[in-house]
Symmetry: C2
Subunit: 522 residues, 2 copies
């Protein structure tokens, strides 16, 4: 439906039946124009993004960076006039971990500084190590045997998946009209192929089991440290956990994730029989005083006597990985959500429902912040016993697919909500946001709401270089945030939140799901 | 001219006049097939490239890495049966310089390792520094004044040109048929625009003068060190000289070239009034015992009594920049040239003329190795007094445009050579090499020959990611060398060198240039 059709329809339906009237959303064009003007012309989203990334720094789960971000966002939201700003514990997470020093270089056959970072939650080296390397390659558990007796006091070099090469594809892209059109269709039912699914799962499990055995052997045999890589290129490398964050986790070896080019050079030299010596110093700091995880929440109180007890929520996760400042994952989402509430406050529009922003902790470790918030406030998906607040949530909007502008929204299988979103998008076709997809999208915090039958949604964003360059890498930095994209997204989110806060009814919900005992959930 | 036309022509010209016969090149298809077979099926080019890059390491002018490469290539060429292999001094270059340690990190407002490397020929820090930063931005000399009294004991952060952002263009490309076709045309005479040329030159000079003033001020005011960047993205950064290599050069401050993302974070934090502390240690080693520069040369002796005193040369430069292993600039060219002579030896073909490979030193500092070799052996362009060897050089072939396969050759304004090259390329259309361009191409060692009227040529190579990712960066590594491209190029070079060694006449020359006193040359 285009804009003209909608207006005609709206006009002709002024005295329509309630059922039909329900299908036409009231669009307060004056309020929406104010939102657009504030968000495009007096934006603070890049300033917010700067504070979240550069000033707070990397924001690993329960790290000092995340604590800085919790405190700063609480203060900042309060300074914009939000109320009840709170760093709200969601339960027990595990140990905090921060890097105090990281230095790794090749010192023989000649000197070369290497690009790398400690894997999260790995321990310090015992001062500066200077050690020979050994390449460890194992496709099966039996392959490990040949390294027995070879590893003592050595730095183990693990293999590099997908070695880099000249790239003929651009890092960044935007969705084409055709791709967006495709998203408006329900996905074809996947061809049932239980065998290959089972095969894949078996392969995955076998690989994980092998890596566990390898880790145990390296430790048992007295290796000094491990250098590994999960991929990347050009000085970019991927980062991940190197150890459990549980307070009582068993100690592991110091392990660094390396730029593939550096790791491959070490491997090639070593395999050619040339002795390679590594100089390595990491100092990491564990924090076990406070094992709790936190979410930051703050509100714009509703103004309608009847509806202000109802809540429209919006959020993104504040935690990140540790080797960069988590700009696209997910300072962008948080900055946009914060900007959306700032815009709503600054325009002076009067939302009928209460608007609550939530900046989630510990998403990267398993959506912990949002899952536990939902459990504490709305329902536990394991029992589906509903808490009183469950009835009061009008909608939850999430943003966590990088820094690209909003091209539409996933209805997450909620067909009743689609015509509403289609109408809400009408005023923003000129900003490139047009698409309502019936599809599900996963991987982030709206799932926590969806899991208990609450209307939780994630927007469709232009991919840019999220999947190729920034997602979980050491290059997820402020440079990757195009200001125009963040401004556009802020306006779109503010408008959706505002509409959800003004609408006579809460957003339609899908049927309540059945209780899913812990073991059955992802 | 396509292959069929050529064959028809060759057949019909069996009893043609000498003048016309001259236009038809003899192609020894059996020998060329052997060259192709050896180069494509029993290639050692990647092994050679591995030794030049990973094993020898970075090969800065007069560095230990370059010394290793000189010794290794001499030994390797000898092992393949070449004779008179020699590390031949070309004259005085300047100081050797190597990195012994390089570590730089941000230690406040939080810890973060930074990606960077010392600029070439910069001195060590005095142990580990821990200093505050100051951002220094100056568009004019007057702007420098405001920093007076502010710099003592500070680490100066210089501006970042072209900050990185998501990239919508691929790093690597190959030439299209249309682009190659365009190269066969003479370039249109450039629109004369002396004003804008003069403006550009003036801007360039003003910028260089400003940087000199800035450097002097930083030193005079007692700054502790400098962090700068010349560009790059994703963990890739460009490298260059930070100081003169002359033995009597004035001391400068320690200076590192940084990944732009890291430098920009430091600048943004500092400009926001947040104190930034840097921990920095560099140890660099100067070598002043041997200030000479060297080229490596070796020969396959000619077999024809009359022609063996004549020489076909081929070469590439062995020196590189220091922050990577100079894989595409120019280990690739050297490995291909070495492979070409290996192929010729391995096939047992009997070149009539002597073939001489030269691996040049100190190209990156001004084509010094080749310019001085030409001056010592052939002629000094300042006087154009020809030495006896000038008459004996049949051709010089150069390769120094990265790791892409050969698509043709630049005739360097030598029109008489074009039909010869066109016929030499005929057997290699299936390998993608078809184009003879009348144009000049610059920037590397064939210019040294061209400058004294000798027929020096550079091949046309697919650009790949040479201009975007590897040229003078810290990511010029072995990964950037596609084996198929290097094999193809080796076959093409071997065939050209072989043809030039077999031909009845030396390659036609352009008229001798006039003597150009030093001051008039680039």
């Amino acid at each position: 439906m285009n804009k003209l059709t909608l207006l005609t329809l709206a006009g002709s339906l002024a005295v329509a039946t309630p059922a039909l009237a329900q299908q036409t959303e009231k669009l307060d064009q004056a309020a929406l124009a104010k939102i657009k003007d504030e968000g495009l012309n007096r934006s603070k989203v890049m300033e917010t993004a700067f504070y979240l990334t550069d000033v707070c720094g990397p924001r690993l789960a329960n790290s000092e960076g995340l604590q800085r971000a919790n405190e700063w966002t609480k203060k900042q939201l309060t300074s914009w006039g939000l109320v009840k700003a709170n760093v709200e514990p969601w339960g027990t997470f595990g140990r905090g971990w921060d890097i105090e020093k990281s230095y790794v270089a090749m010192t023989a056959p000649y000197y070369h500084t290497l690009i790398g970072a400690p894997k999260a939650w790995t321990p310090s080296t015992n001062g500066t190590l200077k050690k020979q390397v050994i390449v460890v390659k194992a496709a099966t558990e039996a392959d490990l045997d040949k390294y027995k007796g070879q590893l003592r006091d050595k730095i183990a070099l693990l293999e590099v998946p997908n070695p880099p090469k000249p790239s003929f594809e651009p890092d960044a892209k935007r969705y084409t009209t055709e791709e967006l059109q495709k998203m408006t269709e329900k996905p074809a039912a996947p061809a049932a192929n239980p065998t290959s699914d089972a095969d894949r799962m078996a392969t995955f499990r076998a690989r994980a089991a092998l890596r566990t055995k390898l880790t145990e052997m390296l430790q048992a045999e007295g290796a000094a440290a491990v250098l590994s890589t999960r991929g990347g290129s050009d000085g970019t490398f991927f980062t991940s956990n190197g150890a459990p964050y549980a307070a009582d986790a068993k100690p592991v070896l110091p392990e660094l994730e390396m730029a593939p080019e550096d790791q491959l050079r070490l491997i090639r030299l070593s395999e050619a029989g040339i002795p390679v010596e590594i100089e390595l110093e990491t100092r990491t700091r564990f924090q076990t005083q406070d094992l709790k995880g936190y979410n930051v929440v703050a509100e714009i109180p509703g103004t309608d006597k009847k509806l202000k007890s109802e809540v429209v929520m919006l959020g993104g996760h504040l935690d990140s990985w540790h080797a960069a400042t988590g700009a696209t994952d997910n300072a962008a989402g948080c900055a946009i959500m914060m900007e959306a509430v700032r815009i709503i406050k600054a325009t002076g529009v009067q939302p009928r429902r209460t608007i609550r922003i939530a900046l989630w902790g510990e998403e990267e470790q398993g959506l912990f912040g949002s899952r536990n918030y939902v459990k504490n406030h709305f329902a536990d998906p394991a029992t589906m016993k509903l808490l009183p607040e469950h009835e009061k949530l009008a909608a939850y909007f999430n943003l966590d697919n990088g820094a690209g502008k909003i091209r539409g929204i996933y209805a997450q299988g909620n067909e009743a909500v689609m015509p509403i979103f289609q109408q809400w998008l009408q005023p923003f076709g000129d900003l490139g946001a047009t698409t309502v997809s019936p599809r599900n999208t996963g991987g982030t915090d709206h799932l926590s709401f969806d899991a208990v039958g609450l209307p939780g949604f994630q927007f469709i964003q232009d991919p840019l270089d999220y999947g190729t360059r920034t997602h979980h890498t050491n290059m997820d930095t402020y440079e990757r945030l195009p200001a125009d994209d963040l401004k556009q997204a802020s306006v779109l989110v503010a408008s959706f939140v505002y509409q959800a806060a003004m609408r006579d009814q809460k957003l339609p919900r899908k049927p309540l799901p059945a209780a899913k005992p812990e073991a059955q959930r992802l």
